[in-house]
């Protein structure tokens, strides 16, 4: 039944009643139930497909971060329509063990003004707990509801893999992060997906014998799985991360695009030559010819000057593994297989919810990737 307004009091009464019933009539297994809330999660679904995804993720999230989730299905429309539904979300446990439950409120709306939606969401937040806004889909910061809510949130989570105009949106995301200066903290699930890649690349240089080569990298080649949209954001973030950690600066105007291959250059301090000397690092980013899983397909770091060294992390054909290889000069290569389990949306969100403060490493990487993206978009519009 369609309606144009919701009674907040009714939602609260329904929540109270739900917990009282749990206390009087324990569920079929005779298990006790604990209500546990560690945060408020507002999830904005831009359409029904996203609503379905969010609904499927929420139960898994309860196990690690019991929360009150307010799902807002914010569909466009000409007629105003809004309704709400309340339910408890419980983790499955062995019989006899206490069950932990969070709460889920779904607000299903069509054509509802953002002001009205925000007015519904705000009183439903549990006081004194962090508020996280998850806004998947393209153009998150252009959405009126997000614009109204983000200031009240501790963290805003977007997903750059769902961008439809990746370079423009990456630049916007970087601008937003800079402007927000940590309040709210910004997260990108596209960055979260890079964690194992960063880990594996960083691990090469925990070895004292390999560490010197990190400071003399000359070439980087990154391949990513090409999806329906050509989305090099993950690769740019990865370059942004390396560059910000290693103090490399983008070289003005030195970008080029051939087909779908991106070429850019960064300046790095030259090693052992004198304090002001610099060298160029060339970066090539291209869609993978043999598309495996989504995300990055391979990362190659090469030092060519003087002593050759090459460090490679690559996805294998099967899901769940990556191969790493380090080759320095004439010594035999050190190879190994590592487990990289495919991550679910629940894992990614969970890992973001674990962070309380601004992720400075991400902020620095995003800042650099944003400036690269800006150069690339202006190149597209006005090639040299």
């Amino acid at each position: 039944m369609s309606q144009t307004a919701i009674d907040i009091g009714a939602i609260e009464r329904e929540l109270r009643q739900m917990w009282q019933e749990q206390a009087i009539h324990p569920n079929a297994g005779g298990q006790a139930v604990i209500r546990a809330l560690t945060l408020n999660l507002i999830a904005r679904a831009p359409d029904d497909a996203w609503a379905e995804q969010i609904l499927s993720v929420a139960p898994g999230l309860t196990a690690q971060h019991p929360n009150r989730t307010v799902i807002v299905i914010d569909r466009p429309g000409t007629t105003v329509e809004v309704q709400a539904q309340v339910q408890a979300l419980c983790t499955l446990t062995n019989a006899g063990r206490t069950q932990v439950c969070g709460e889920q409120i779904t607000i299903s709306a069509r054509g509802t003004p953002a002001g009205q939606l925000a007015g519904l969401v705000l009183p439903l937040l549990v006081p004194d707990l962090p508020v996280v806004l998850w806004a998947p889909g393209p153009q998150p910061f252009a959405q009126p509801l997000v614009q109204r809510l983000y200031r009240l949130c501790d963290r805003v989570i977007v997903d750059s893999t769902t961008f439809t105009e990746p370079l423009t949106e990456l630049a916007e995301l970087a601008t937003f992060e800079q402007k927000a200066k940590g309040a709210p903290a910004v997260s990108d699930l596209g960055w979260t997906r890079l964690t194992p890649w960063r880990e594996l690349v960083a691990q090469f240089f925990d070895s004292r014998t390999f560490l010197p080569h990190l400071h003399r990298i000359d070439e980087i080649v990154i391949e990513y799985a090409a999806g329906t949209v050509v989305n090099p954001v993950a690769a740019l973030l990865f370059v942004g991360w390396l560059a910000s950690c290693l103090k490399w600066a983008p070289l003005e105007e030195a970008v080029g695009v051939e087909g779908e291959t991106i070429r850019l250059y960064l300046r790095r301090p030259a090693v052992g030559v004198g304090p002001a000397a610099i060298r160029l690092v060339s970066v090539e980013i291209r869609p993978s010819l043999s598309p495996a899983r989504a995300g990055l397909a391979s990362v190659v770091l090469r030092a060519i000057d003087n002593q050759r060294a090459e460090f490679v992390v690559a996805q294998t054909d099967d899901a769940g593994h990556a191969r790493t290889r380090a080759t320095v000069a004439d010594t035999p290569p050190i190879e190994r297989m590592v487990k990289v389990d495919p991550v679910t949306l629940t894992d990614l969100l969970s890992s973001e919810l674990r962070l309380l403060s601004r992720d400075r490493t991400f902020a620095a990487a995003l800042n650099l990737a944003g400036s690269l993206a800006r150069r690339l978009t202006s190149y597209h519009n006005d090639p040299l």
């Binding site: 932990v100 960063r198 880990e199 070895s207 294998t316 590592v338 487990k339």
Partner: protein
């Protein structure tokens, strides 16, 4: 500490777990139970979680006539049976197993060590391990001095990278032998190369004791003699001596459990806040606790030995009927004792420790019992109906923390105790790593915080050796004095009842 990480500029920031530099772990006693059940599954799980660097290698050193291949097969089976992550991932294992080698030799055979030197150098070249080594002594303690001396003789205590040695318990069987062992180890290695392992410290819940105490501000002000009535530390096991009867009969509960595990728990509960969280600051505070403990009076100890009874509903034999145990054995399988820490925080607060085998439940717990409300203002309720507040830290199973307080029964003028529970399993939906995983990784990272330092071991033995001596010199006790499957001897209940207190029902 771990300078290499500070040097790697990619290691800044959040999320990424630390990984050590590539290294080789040499396990002495590689054909033994510990290697198969704990060490190799722990190393494999670390590799599975990408916590080990490429090039990480294992050399198993033992007397049996095995080959690299047969050793790898055996370990693969061991992981399939014992790993918390289930059977091996074939591709991952194939890659991990390339770095596993078997080294045949007797522990006293100089030639075996000469070959070991060559082999380690070859691994350094082929796998980029840069001379970094961990020697793990997983042998019976009798072999420790021989191995340590041989390592010294063959120059294996130093290398172009770092070298560390992990020593399993027992660290001696009394003060004199512990001092002698320490002297032998330290004649070859420096103290900062030595990692004495007590797997209890690797348990997440044990580490959480410090987080709970020092990352929360509300508990520390009441963590004090003016608010705490007494503390109980219990480590109860349901198992008997299994196939360790021969060893256990020369050891007993005081040596096997109290000297290490319970003393560690005691230190963590009672220590002052360290100025920083690093290996020496933490261990300095722990040593201060041990040194402040008043010599334990003989009449403040109770010994027990289990007789026939039941475990998990099945009849089991008594201790003296176990394999390898003397039929007239005077070895204790249960100890309860009371001690006092004579410092400003704890003066006058009794700490009751108990540990035993063949008790009804496997449970490890620290319970802080607070003082009762000083007066009762609720006329309908007599004061003795009120239970004191208890803060219980459960180490295993059902890891968590619970606080008991009084609450009004709705609609009735009655007061009942209720508990506020925090459970690891419920709040963090991730499985905790095994203690050995954490400890092996810490050692490779050069972090000794969770390992026992020389002075800790000796301080603990200083306290307990007089009791062992007095027991040995005293008249034999009428053992067995508790039934397998009961909560220990009646004397233990009487002992605590004399102080007007009782053991917690667990």
């Amino acid at each position: 500490m771990t300078m290499a990480f500070l040097d790697n500029p990619l290691r800044t920031g959040l999320r990424m777990g630390r990984t050590p530099e590539p290294c080789t772990m040499v396990i002495f006693g590689a054909s033994g139970d510990l290697t198969r059940r704990k060490l190799v599954p722990a190393l494999y799980n670390l590799a599975r979680e990408r916590r080990l660097p490429a090039g990480f290698s294992v050399v198993g050193f033992a007397r049996r006539d095995w080959t690299d291949e047969s050793f790898r097969e055996l370990l693969c089976e061991a992981i399939n049976t014992n790993s918390r992550s289930g059977p091996v991932d074939p591709e991952l294992w194939a890659s991990f197993a390339q770095g596993i080698y078997y080294h045949w030799g007797n522990f006293d055979d100089a030639d075996a060590y000469r070959r070991l030197v060559e082999r380690l150098a070859a691994i350094d070249r082929e796998r980029g391990t840069g001379g970094n080594r961990v020697f793990y002594l997983a042998t019976p303690p009798e072999a420790y001095p021989t191995i340590i001396a041989q390592l010294g003789t063959h120059g294996l205590a130093r290398s172009s990278g770092w070298t560390r040695i992990i020593i399993e318990k027992p660290f001696g069987h009394d003060l004199t032998s512990a001092q002698a062992l320490n002297a032998e180890v330290l004649s070859v290695f420096n103290e900062d190369q030595v990692y004495r392992i007590d797997h209890y410290l690797g348990k997440e819940t044990v580490q959480n004791i410090l987080i709970f105490r020092f990352a929360n501000a509300i508990f520390e002000p009441i963590w004090h003699r003016s608010h705490i009535d007494h503390v109980q530390i219990t480590v109860a096991e349901t198992i008997g001596v299994e196939d360790r009867g021969g060893y256990y009969d020369t050891s007993g509960a005081l040596r096997d459990m109290i000297q290490n595990h319970l003393m560690q728990l005691l230190c963590l509960v009672a220590m002052e806040p360290p100025s920083v969280y690093d290996a020496d600051a933490v261990r300095d505070e722990k040593v201060k606790v041990l040194r402040a403990i008043r010599p334990i009076a003989l009449h403040d100890t109770v010994r027990g030995q289990y007789g026939p009874g039941s475990a998990n509903g099945r009849p089991v034999r008594g201790y003296r009927e176990e394999k390898g145990v003397s039929p007239t054995s005077q070895t204790e399988t249960y100890v309860a004792l009371k001690l006092f820490i004579d410092n400003w925080r704890w003066a006058g607060v009794p700490f009751y420790l108990r540990s035993g085998k063949r008790l009804p439940r496997r449970v490890s717990e620290i319970a802080i019992q607070f003082k009762a409300a000083p007066t009762m203002i609720f006329a309908d309720t007599p004061l003795n109906d009120l239970e004191p507040n208890v803060l219980a830290m459960k180490i295993q199973p059902d890891e968590g923390i619970s606080l008991k307080f009084s609450s009004k029964v709705p609609g009735q003028p009655q007061i009942r105790p209720v508990t506020m529970d925090f459970r690891y399993g419920a709040s963090f939906g991730v499985t905790s790593p095994e203690a050995y995983e954490r400890l092996l990784l810490d050692c490779m990272l050069g972090d000794g915080t969770l390992f026992t330092r020389r002075d800790e071991v000796e301080a603990s033995w200083t306290l307990l050796t007089p009791i062992l001596r007095a027991w040995a010199e005293g008249p034999p006790l009428p053992f067995p004095n508790y039934e397998a499957g009961s909560w220990g001897p009646v004397e233990a209940d009487e002992f605590i009842a004399r102080d007007g207190r009782s053991w917690r029902r667990l």
